[in-house]
């Protein structure tokens, strides 16, 4: 059975409240339905859900996980929020590209660029290369 650890950290970008959500491990059929609910809860709780999904530690995601990402995106946008993806590994970026997610969601290869995307109205700017190894900021909350 696949294991994933999702951690949540509050952040701020130019006065805009963000939730930094870091994924570590694998998302697949065995765990994604349960894990996805944690993100829905955050979207529900935030008035304007601005979510930065840090995929630096995400080793695998299946098609259903990608389906959840698009659904989170739709729900966040419906509340005037936004979702940005940061630091996907090469294999994760590859699969996000093949299913067309990069046409919808901004993807950046470092956290600072990803944060800056919340203060711009830029169209999706997909990272051309996978993110370099970088130590993520320590999480403040674990769900």
């Amino acid at each position: 059975m696949a294991q994933v650890n999702i951690t949540f950290q509050d952040a701020d970008q130019a006065g805009k409240a963000l939730k930094l959500i870091a994924f570590e491990g694998q998302l697949d059929e065995t765990n994604v339905d349960a894990e996805a609910q944690k993100i829905y809860k955050v979207i529900e709780e935030m008035a304007e859900p601005n979510l930065l999904l840090d995929f630096a530690g995400l080793e695998y995601m299946n098609s259903k996980s990608i389906g959840y990402v698009t659904d989170w995106y739709s729900k966040a946008v419906a509340k005037n929020g936004k979702i940005v993806i940061a630091r996907p590994r090469a294999n994760i970026l590859d699969i996000l590209k093949v299913v067309g997610i990069t046409q919808i969601i901004n993807i950046h290869d470092n956290i600072d660029q990803a944060k800056a995307a919340f203060s711009s109205e830029a169209t999706p700017a997909t990272a051309d290369k996978p993110a370099p190894a970088e130590t993520p900021a320590p999480p403040t909350t674990t769900v």
Partner: protein, 187 residues
């Protein structure tokens, strides 16, 4: 991979006489000298629990037995994961099996067969599945808003050269995919 699963269900079907020679890990030398495809079949119970082990096994097979690059090893992990998940979710009932067969000619191609028993909740014929794939392939993936519908028609069909379905004699479907090794895709 789950050791118990590997011990119980992995069946090598190469023409060797000693059980140890059936192991993938002992095949490297013979793959280089023999010009015959290597065939390995794995039978798993109808449970997604075993899928992460299948992904690990796929990575090992592709990296050690096919000549494909790491990028394609990851891609084939996804291909096999999606096909096996479909068979588990729709094709075989709980308590039944799903059979996954890898066939590889190093430096030339890899093909995978995923066979269900047709006892699952969704019964489709090979022709119905082919129609479904043809229709869905023309959809812009960026317009898909549902949770499902990306595995077979976006991921599997994009990363394979052949995607076909066969009705099994005893019921169920076999999905067959082939990826030929082309220039720039090798290690």
């Amino acid at each position: 991979m789950d050791t118990a699963v590997a011990n119980q269900t992995t069946t090598a079907q190469a023409n060797t006489s000693h059980p140890e020679e059936h192991s993938v890990f002992n095949k490297t030398k013979s793959v280089e000298t023999e010009q015959e495809p290597i065939k390995i079949s794995i039978i798993i119970p109808t449970s997604a629990y075993f899928i992460s082990g299948i992904r690990d096994f796929t990575m090992t097979v592709v990296q050690n037995m096919t000549g494909f690059s790491e990028q394609w090893a990851y891609r084939f992990q996804s291909v096999v994961d999606e096909l096996a998940n479909n068979a588990i979710e729709f094709g075989s009932a709980s308590g039944e099996d799903v059979k996954i067969t890898f066939v590889s000619m190093k430096g030339k191609y890899i093909e995978v067969f995923v066979e269900d028993t047709g006892t699952g909740p969704v019964k489709k014929t090979a022709a119905e599945m082919m129609d479904f794939v043809k229709k869905q392939k023309s959809v812009d993936p960026a317009t898909i808003t549902t949770l499902r519908g990306r595995g077979l028609t976006q991921i599997v069909s994009s990363w394979t050269d052949t995607l076909e379905f066969q009705d099994n004699e005893k019921g169920g479907l076999t999905v067959h995919v082939v990826k030929n090794l082309e220039r720039g895709e090798e290690v």
